[in-house]
């Protein structure tokens, strides 16, 4: 009985020690606090000390979330899409997780291959973006097309679609998931979709750009819109890497 007690107390001591340690490390992470005018008089300008806004004289507010993004043990941040653990089939019939795409700038869109209305234009938008990227940068980039119709869009079908549309290069990846993983993925991208008949879906037309850590950087909404901002976002990311 005595030994049991001593073991128990040892545990408690050990536990309290680790928890202390944890809170310490957290504190140091939050050292870097940025301040910003609550009215954003000077746009997104931030200050590294408290004070008044020079325009509206309001107290500057501490920004809790601007402290450096905390990385978890895998080296991916809280907001990274690599936190999704679902598995996907590529058009080459490989099985991957999103995390396998880590290290590349990602341009993603959700489509389905039987689509006659918006998807061809959306795919064209993707190709236009791709065409404007200098060849030497292509190795740092992946264009990902995720099917919202995983029942129909098998790897074989996706491969055929890739060939038809001249998107069979290494920089293009097509993904087939499951009903559930596609729904989850769409929710991460804030893409809405609905099956309106066995062959047809309504869906929002959004092209999303992620950095090499899987964090959403830019979204382009609509069809045939000016892709300047999207290209700029991709350009900035590639040069940062």
């Amino acid at each position: 009985m005595k030994t049991l007690k001593s073991i128990l107390s040892l545990f408690i001591v050990a536990l309290s020690f680790t928890s202390c340690h944890f809170s310490d490390s957290k504190k140091s992470n939050n050292d870097l606090v940025l301040y910003q005018c609550p009215m954003k008089c000077e746009g997104d300008k931030t200050f590294d000390h408290a004070g008044n806004c020079s325009v509206c004289k309001m107290d500057l507010k501490a920004l809790a979330e601007t402290s450096l993004t905390e990385l978890n043990h895998n080296g991916i941040s809280d907001e990274s899409i690599f936190n999704l653990t679902s598995t996907w089939h590529t058009e080459e019939n490989e099985i991957i997780q999103l995390e396998d795409l880590k290290g590349k700038t990602l341009v993603m869109v959700m489509i389905y291959t039987t689509c006659k209305a918006a998807c061809p234009r959306l795919v064209a938008d993707m190709r236009n973006i791709e065409a404007k990227i200098p060849k030497e940068n292509m190795k740092d980039l992946r264009f990902i097309l995720v099917s919202i119709d995983p029942e129909t869009d098998t790897p074989d079908r996706l491969k055929a679609f890739a060939k038809e549309n001249f998107m069979d290069g290494k920089q293009w990846t097509f993904l087939q998931g499951t009903q559930s993983s596609v729904r989850e993925f769409a929710n991460v991208l804030a893409v809405k979709y609905k099956q309106i008949s066995p062959m047809d879906f309504s869906h929002s037309n959004i092209i999303s750009v992620f950095n090499s850590g899987g964090e959403l950087i830019h979204q382009q909404e609509g069809l045939g819109v000016d892709n300047k901002e999207t290209l700029q976002a991709i350009h900035d990311l590639i040069n940062k890497n």
Partner: protein, 257 residues
């Protein structure tokens, strides 16, 4: 030997209590065909038989869930999966605020959290069509949408403040023996992101035709059903990581033959 026997007995009772505790009561819903407010091509939708939780998930049940799965505690949850309002009223990761009742439906949870909660119990969230199918019942009829009293009740609730802190079971039991679909909180659905209405009037004007492919195919079949229209509107404006004070959830299960 006796001690071992006694111990196993204890463990079994404990296990039984625990599982019995976590698994909330469900009732069978007989499938059928109906026309929802927003259907596929505004046509009929067919629902298969399934089981539905009698009550929304409570604060108590969700507290047990975060104790078992710390990754869903407020300080642990990934920002990808929940915004800053996630469980914001709780005193700490594992303690409710004293103003919150254990028997009240849990709110301020994201879609990701609700989905995972159901999956951890071998269940899932209801689809919009399933939820609306059960929710169109009143006390005695499976489809009471034409009744004035039915719509009045729901609209009356929309005017009542702070119903999210009422205990589960405090509203009426409907035709299917399900409680609280109207009157306590709004509920997450599995495919809430299939509602293609934009909440912003500036967006609705012309840009939407570009934003949504085939959006003309989905429209309201019965705009008189204002209460349901409100539900679809809120679904259309949600994002999966949002956590709202009056938005909870319940789970359903497919019937395996």
């Amino acid at each position: 030997m006796q001690t071992i026997q006694r111990l196993t007995l204890y463990t079994f009772t404990l296990l039984f209590m625990l599982t019995g505790h976590c698994q909330s009561k469900m009732v069978a819903i007989k499938g059928g065909t109906y026309i929802p407010l927003y259907g596929r091509d505004s046509l009929k939708v067919t629902i298969s038989d399934f089981e539905m939780d009698v009550y929304p998930v409570t604060n108590k049940a969700f507290l047990e869930f975060v104790l078992k799965y710390p990754k869903w505690q407020r300080s642990q949850v990934k920002k990808l999966f929940a915004d800053g309002n996630y469980l914001i009223d709780w005193d700490s990761d594992t303690k409710l605020n004293q103003s919150q009742s254990l028997d009240a439906p849990v709110t301020n949870i994201s879609w990701f959290a609700a989905k995972d909660y159901c999956e951890c119990q071998g269940k899932r969230l209801a689809t919009i069509d399933e939820w609306e199918y059960v929710a169109m019942a009143n006390k005695t009829m499976p489809d009471a949408r034409q009744l004035e009293s039915y719509n009045k009740y729901i609209l009356g609730w929309y005017e009542k403040p702070k119903t999210f802190n009422n205990a589960i079971g405090s509203t009426f039991k409907n035709y299917w023996n399900v409680y609280d679909l109207h009157g306590l909180v709004w509920e997450w659905t599995l495919d809430f992101n299939s509602v293609l209405v934009s909440g912003e009037s500036r967006k609705d004007v012309d840009k939407d035709n570009n934003l949504f492919c085939g959006s003309a195919a989905v429209g309201a079949t019965d705009l008189m059903n204002y209460a349901a229209f409100m539900r679809y509107a809120i679904r259309g404006s949600l994002k999966a990581k949002y956590a709202m004070k009056n938005l909870g959830f319940r789970c359903v299960k497919d019937i395996v033959e």
